[in-house]
């Protein structure tokens, strides 16, 4: 192995470099000017995105510890785009909250650390690597959940996240040990399971449960609402799209490469959990008063829909999952972006606070409406296409009952998404949220999300590109 082989990891190395550069910049800024790190970080992140999209390498490193191929690069790119959007959205919050001013760089460093974990997790070819990077993705985020530690709820979110995360990691690690005991290896390639015995089955069950925690699949979802509500909006955004997205991707990789032979068994597990997740997520979402909790349950329901793409275990289904996650990133971040802008300006986060928002902030309301329409899957916005391909994947697998339940859930979800739209456009309010002027980055973030919501569905080459690149797993 030569030094040039390290360039297989160019995305991860670039991220590590970015983290180091930001540390140096942080030291050189005096206390008054700490906020200047915001544009630096945002603009330095653009080359990272570009590197990702130019990257076409295929290969493996360190005895298959690290694997890269076009599909994995595509997954990383999708998530990097999401992180970039999160970065754009947080600037306002970081600048305005006086308590945070000296800790702005902390936010970026922790997110980037977690992102490095995300990248390595996708590229992992060995369960040791897998576990290390999984922890790297979640521990910095638990710290960030408690970022506003002077707020009771934020501190509570942090401790809840770390406790439940530790618990789920324990379960997952137990599963991994059982798999090791059954096969005598931790390497994906050597482990591929042809038939099941008791130990490996137990291993799979525990492994799946641990990962299901990260995706917030019912019944492993209970932490989600509390943490989403308490954590700062930026962290919630990250948790709801990036942490969830990477866990879904990794689940897809592992299910197909390692457990492909026993598809008939995990299919049923996914089938049951998909139904539970969609239905329970929806039923809880209906009664939420707090917009962050509301979006938390909506994101649980969305995770249920994502499972429809995995259930068939086909390439087509995997493409549908990737495509949906990209659209979900745009839609969910648009929604959270609006929530973040409003919370910063007025500290309001209940749904009834959104009454009459259209009168004072028509543009924000329109963005929110598009985002919710996309989450609900109403054509012609992108969310519809995302859902359509997921439904089609379930139809392809011949699971009509599941499909029917999914469609019913889509109708239920339409109802509660429209409740928020109704609040913004129709309900009257004596004291609506005042007119808000958001800063350049926040505005750019919302514009990018909106553009994504509108065009991702219509521009067919995005889907074609994914279809051509998702056969690699």
């Amino acid at each position: 192995m030569s030094w040039s082989d390290f360039f297989l990891m160019q995305q991860e190395l670039a991220l590590i470099l970015l983290a180091l550069v930001l540390l140096v910049v942080e030291i050189s800024l005096d206390t008054e000017n700490k906020h200047k790190i915001i544009p630096v970080a945002n603009f330095l992140f653009i080359p990272i995105l570009v590197i990702g999209f130019l990257n076409t390498s295929t290969g493996s490193l360190f005895g298959d510890m690290y694997i890269t191929d076009p599909t994995r690069i595509l997954m990383k790119n999708i998530l990097n785009v999401g992180v970039f959007l999160v970065f754009l959205q947080v600037s306002n919050w970081l600048k305005t909250q006086a308590n945070n001013r000296n800790r702005i760089s902390e936010f970026y460093l922790l997110i980037i650390s977690s992102l490095i974990g995300v990248n390595y997790l996708i590229s992992a070819g060995n369960f040791l690597m897998f576990y290390l990077s999984l922890e790297l993705t979640s521990i910095p985020i638990a710290a960030l959940a408690a970022y506003e530690q002077y707020k009771h709820k934020s501190a509570e979110a942090g401790i809840k996240m770390i406790l439940s995360s530790a618990f789920s990691s324990g379960i997952l690690l137990f599963g991994l040990s059982l798999l090791y005991a059954g096969t005598g290896t931790l390497n994906y390639g050597a482990m591929a399971i042809a038939s099941v015995d008791l130990i490996q089955s137990m291993g799979f069950i525990f492994f799946f449960s641990g990962l299901a925690f990260k995706i917030s699949i019912v019944p492993f979802h209970l932490w989600t609402a509390d943490v989403y509500e308490g954590a700062p909006v930026a962290v919630t955004s990250y948790l709801s799209v990036i942490s969830k997205g990477v866990a879904v991707f990794v689940l897809a990789i592992v299910l197909i490469t390692l457990f492909g032979e026993i598809q008939g068994l995990w299919q049923e597990v996914i089938y049951v959990t998909a139904i539970l997740t969609m239905t329970i997520g929806n039923l809880f979402a209906i009664r939420q008063k707090n917009i962050k909790r509301f979006l938390a349950f909506s994101s649980i329901a969305q995770a249920g829909f994502i499972l429809l793409g995995l259930v068939g275990g086909s390439n087509f289904g995997t493409t549908a999952v990737l495509y949906f996650v990209l659209i979900y990133i745009f839609s969910n971040l648009a929604a959270f972006g609006v929530v973040s802008v409003i919370q910063n300006a007025s500290d309001k986060e209940n749904i009834y606070d959104y009454n009459g928002l259209y009168k004072t902030n028509p543009r924000l309301s329109l963005v929110m409406m598009l985002a919710l329409f996309s989450l609900a899957g109403i054509p012609p916005v992108a969310g519809f296409f995302g859902k359509f391909f997921l439904f089609a994947a379930a139809a392809e697998a011949g699971m009509y009952v599941l499909l029917l339940i999914a469609v019913l859930n889509a109708i239920i979800s339409l109802y509660y998404y429209l409740l928020v739209v109704k609040a913004m456009f129709i309900n009257s309010n004596d004291q609506p949220v005042p007119k808000i002027e958001s800063d350049f980055f926040a505005r750019a973030g919302l514009i990018l999300c909106t553009a994504g919501i509108i065009i991702t569905g219509f521009i067919s080459w995005i889907y074609e590109y994914m279809l051509n690149n998702s056969f690699g797993i």
Binding site: S168, W266, T273, R287, I378, A392, E464
Partner: protein, 640 residues
């Protein structure tokens, strides 16, 4: 041949461009410019459609005595697999051309009419932007070459009608109506989507022509696979029909239509008379080959639902006092007619029902749009929807009066007005299929004449307006569309539909049934006469009763006995109890069921909230419980 039809794309592009322009610049454009953009674009689209119709029917359409379906263009858009692709195209065949003519004609007239009707309303430019969006979506739906394209435009039609119905967004009833319309039709649309998925999965194609080729052989393999006693093909087609029934307001998915009357009247004329509501009929007609060969059982259901809706709505229409609601139920009833005609139709030589259905769709578009626009002119003048507060308007609104009368005659099926010819064909087709359908259709024909003339007499005759009344005729931008539509309502019946639009593209010999025609006209006349007796004169019956007590026995006999007893039987028993019951059933049971589903969901949701307590220890227990569940599921399937 491909290149010669390239201009057709402008039929779609122009209204869309008008929407984008008006939408983006809505605050900056003067009102006249905004409406001019929309109107000019739709007029050009209409001209192109007429040209296309002329070229198609006289020249390029016919090959070997059969009208062919031509794809003007068909662009691949999304690719699932090599064989299953989603395309966007422009299908030219007799029914798509007919629909294009209907949509562009009615749209043009409604757009022009709206200049007068919406004058001074706030959001005038926005309104025209939405109108253009709607016309674009509707035309995209009509010319779709495949199910998926149709679904996309189908939803776009839903979205734009949602925007238009909710146009008075500061009016709560308008908003709740638009939401209801949206949710109910969405519910149906998801059925449609499931149907599409099933069809495309088994038929391996979205394309209408491929699905219908060889008399539906492509999907006939689905006939063999059964699910719960019915073939998968039947299920798929039934689900597709659910989508159509939702858009076309068939029982029991009709509940949104009366409420949707909250929107501005031109919107009702455009959406709820001539275009969107007939999309369901169009959908079934578009896939008629598949229905006819693949699932005659589903076609029977279509006929039953159509017939029932026709009767149900006609009875309710007799009890309504809101002029637009009467028209809304009348629309539902007439669409039921069309559905029934499709349902009873056979193929090729037995395809009279199909032709009749399309014919009725065509003529109905003219007179129903005319009725709605006329109602709009009336409402515009007297500022109320309640027909009890109108009366004697014929002196004040002469043009509205004459055109409204023409429309009433047309919908009642009086020759030589348009409705007569199409209704006659429908009844002839129903007669061939089964007497029960004919009976229902015949009864509905009488009821239609009755409630339409009830409306006519109460609005234009009956009592007189107070002398100081300032009611006056609408401006000419509103009356000219009325006159044009009135001409359409008179002459549309003379189009030789049997030569143009048939199930298989070949000429269908339609004969004229004198006895049937006489019977139909007879029952229509009965309806008109009855409504004349009831509603033509001011309702001073209490006075006359008082007078008769001291007056002649003869007066009592002739007026009191004849009038009042008859009135008692019909008004009190038939309309008062029977119709009121149906109206009640509609309000409470049908609506209530929908509400109950919503309530049930909320209730379950409140029952399970205890799960989310906020305690991490409990979360860990649930987590372990989850592991157990996963384990059980896994081992259950492993052991099998």
């Amino acid at each position: 041949m491909e290149t010669s039809l390239n201009y057709t794309i402008w039929i779609l592009i122009l209204p869309f461009a008008a929407f984008v322009l008006n939408g983006l610049l809505s605050k900056r454009l003067p009102n006249q410019v905004a409406s001019a953009i929309s109107i000019i674009s739709i007029l050009i689209a209409a001209a192109l459609s007429y040209y296309l119709a002329f070229v198609y029917f006289t020249d390029i359409g016919k090959a070997a005595e059969t009208f062919m379906a031509i794809k003007a263009f068909d662009q691949t858009w999304l690719r699932f697999t090599e064989s299953l692709q989603i395309k966007i195209g422009f299908l030219v065949d007799p029914i798509s051309i007919m629909m294009l003519i209907v949509v562009t004609t009615v749209s043009s007239l409604v757009f022009i009419y709206s200049i007068g009707y919406m004058k001074g309303e706030k959001g005038y430019n926005r309104f025209f932007a939405f109108l253009s969006l709607f016309s674009f979506s509707m035309m995209g739906l009509v010319v779709a070459t495949n199910l998926f394209q149709m679904y996309i435009f189908w939803e776009l039609v839903g979205v734009s009608s949602f925007l238009l119905i909710g146009y008075y967004y500061d009016k709560p009833s308008a908003v709740s109506a638009s939401k209801k319309a949206f949710i109910v039709t969405r519910f149906a649309d998801l059925g449609f989507l499931l149907g599409i998925l099933l069809l495309s999965y088994y038929g391996n194609s979205f394309d209408f022509l491929e699905i219908s080729s060889d008399n539906g052989a492509a999907v006939s393999q689905m006939g063999g696979i059964t699910f719960m006693g019915m073939s998968v093909l039947s299920w798929a087609l039934l689900l597709v029909f659910t989508g159509g029934a939702g858009k076309s307001a068939m029982f029991p998915l009709h509940i949104w239509l009366p409420d949707a009357m909250e929107g501005p009247t031109p919107v009702s004329a455009l959406i709820h008379a001539a275009t969107m509501v007939v999309a369901g009929v169009y959908l079934v007609a578009r896939m008629f080959t598949v229905y006819s060969f693949g699932a005659p059982d589903v076609l029977e259901i279509v006929a039953i639902i159509g017939a029932f809706s026709a009767l149900f709505a006609a009875v309710i229409a007799c009890t309504q006092f809101d002029i637009k609601r009467v028209l809304a139920f009348s629309t539902m009833s007439q669409i039921g007619y069309m559905m029934m005609a499709l349902g009873v139709s056979g193929y090729a030589a037995e395809g009279l029902g199909f032709t009749a259905s399309m014919f009725h769709l065509f003529t109905h578009a003219f007179f129903k749009a005319l009725l709605f626009l006329g109602a709009g002119a009336i409402i515009h003048s007297v500022h109320t929807n309640d027909i009890r507060e109108m009366g004697g308007l014929r002196k004040y609104l002469p043009i509205s009066h004459i055109t409204f009368l023409i429309a009433c005659l047309a919908i009642s099926g009086i020759p030589p007005f348009a409705g007569f010819f199409s209704k006659d064909e429908i009844l002839a087709a129903a007669q061939m299929h089964g007497m029960i359908y004919f009976g229902v259709g015949y009864l509905v024909a009488g009821l239609t004449a009755f409630y339409m003339f009830r409306l006519y007499f109460m609005v234009f005759w009956n009592k007189n307006q107070p002398a100081e009344s300032k009611v006056h005729e609408s401006p000419s931008v509103m009356t000219i569309p009325l006159i044009i539509l009135a001409l359409g309502s008179i002459f549309a019946g003379f189009v030789p539909f049997g030569n143009l639009i048939t199930t298989n593209g070949q000429v269908l010999e339609t004969e004229f049934h004198v006895s049937l025609a006489a019977a139909t006209v007879g029952i229509a006349l009965v309806g008109i006469v009855v409504s004349y007796l009831f509603y033509a004169k001011p309702s001073d019956r209490p006075e006359r009763i008082a007078k008769s007590l001291g007056g002649f026995y003869r007066t009592v006999y002739q007026k009191f006995y004849f009038d009042e007893i008859y009135l008692f039987i019909t008004q009190r028993i038939i309309f008062g109890i029977f119709s009121a019951f149906i109206a009640w059933f509609d309000r409470n049971i049908v609506d209530g069921t929908i509400n109950a589903i919503g309530w049930l969901t909320a209730w379950i949701s409140s029952r399970i909230k205890g799960l989310q307590s906020g305690q991490v220890q409990q979360y860990a227990y649930v987590f372990l419980g989850g592991v157990l569940i996963i384990g059980l599921v896994f081992f259950y399937y492993w052991m099998r």
